[in-house]
Symmetry: C2
Subunit: 220 residues, 2 copies
Amino acid sequence: MNDRKISDSTVRRLSLYLNLLRELSAAGTQLVSSGDLAEGSGTTAAQVRKDLSRFGSFGKRGQGYRVSALRSRIERILCVNRTRRVAVVGAGKIGGALLGYRELRDRGFEIVCAFDVDPEKAGAEIFSVPVYPMGELETRLSSEGVDMVIIATPPAAAQEVADRVVAAGVEGILSFAGAKFELARPVAVRWMDVALELEGLSFLMSTSAPSERNGTPDEG
Amino acid sequence: MNDRKISDSTVRRLSLYLNLLRELSAAGTQLVSSGDLAEGSGTTAAQVRKDLSRFGSFGKRGQGYRVSALRSRIERILCVNRTRRVAVVGAGKIGGALLGYRELRDRGFEIVCAFDVDPEKAGAEIFSVPVYPMGELETRLSSEGVDMVIIATPPAAAQEVADRVVAAGVEGILSFAGAKFELARPVAVRWMDVALELEGLSFLMSTSAPSERNGTPDEG
DNA sequence: AACTGTGAAAACTTTCACAGCC
DNA sequence: GGCTGTGAAAGTTTTCACAGTT
C-alpha cells in the first residue's frame, strides 16, 4: 500500500482489469492470477501486482486474486460501484450516437438526457433519451442529478458549455470537442479526439517498427 | 536532433501543436514561440522545444518558429501531408456517426467506405459513404486503396475483422471495440473506449485533487 | 531582449528479483 | 510449487537552467 498519487496509466490499467474481471465473473471463474490479468490486458504480471498493491493487498500468495472481491474493490476505487448519471451536450453525429450506445450502460454509465441548440432536436427523444434546449441546461443538470457531462459540440461552443456546466456544479467533463477551454474551478477533464488518434496511427505506420501502445488493450 | 524512439506522448503533443499551427495559419500568424504553443496545448515551453528538437532545429533564436514551415514539418513527421484513406468496419451507432464526421476530413482523413454484416445497411450509403457487405472487405480495401481501418463492430467480431484486415495488407487499425485481439504480423494499433475514459473521470472526480491529464488539451 | 536548443538533474514509471505465504 | 507483495534497479519522461543566436 502506498499513498502517493495514482498515475493516469495506472487508472487506465485498472479499467482494463475491471473489464476482464467482469468477464471472468460472468464466466463463473473464481480465482485469477496477476499473470492472467496481464495476459488479458496487455501488460506484465509485475505491473498488475504493483498497480493493485497501491490500494492494499488483496491477493492470496500461491493462489491469486478472488475475482468477485477484486472486481468490487476496483469498482469502488474507480467509483463505478453505483451507476453514474451522464448528460451529453450536443446531439450531433457523435453526441447522438452516444445516446444509443449500449456499452456505456453496461459499464455503469446511464445517459439521462442530452441538450442541443437546434430547436428541431430539442423536445424530441433520440434512442429514448430526452433532448432538451440549451436554455434548460442548468436546471436539468441539477434536477436529473447529473454527475458528469460529455461535451460533443463543435469546438467553438466548447468554452461556453464548459463554463455553464462547471457553474452548475458538475465535477467531471469528457470532451470530444478538440478545443482547449479554461475552467473557473478545478474539475476533472478528459479529452477524446478521433483525428488525433488517427494522426498517431499515421505516425506509427510510418516508422518501420510499428508498436502497439495505447489507451486500451495491447498485444505483445 | 536525436534518433531515439519517439514516445507516444510526444506524438500526441505533436498533434496538438499541429492543430494550433493550422489555426494560426488560417489566422495569418507568421511566427510562434514555444511558449505560445505550450499555452495553447497545455504543456510547458521546455517540453515543446524538447519535442521539436528531436526532429531537427527549425526555430530561430530570439524569434520563434515560422508557422507555415513548422506546420508542414509536423505534417510530414505525422505523415498527414497527404490525405489518408480510411475505411470503417461496422456501421452501427459509432461507426455510422464517424461516416459523417466532418472534422476527420478537415484533418486529412477521408472515409472512403464502410462495411457491415447487416444486409439492410450494405448496399446503401450513409452520409454519402458507400456501405458494402462484409464479403467484399478484402477486395474493396484493396480497390479503394485504404490505408487504415477503424473497427467499430461489437467486441466479439473484432478479432475476425482484425485478422481479415491485416491479411488484406492494412497497416493501421483504430479500434472502438474494447476487446483485445492478436495480430498475425506487427501492425500499428490504437484503441478508443468511451467507457474507459468515463471510468478514469470517475476516479479523478473521487480524488479531491482533480487534475487534468490526458490525450488532448489541458488546462493549468 | 527575446527566444531556441540542449545537456544535466529531477521526477516518475516499469521491470527485476526474491522473500514470504498458501 | 505457485503466486503475491515489494524494495531496489533500470529505464523513461519532464523540468531546469543556461549557453548561443538573431
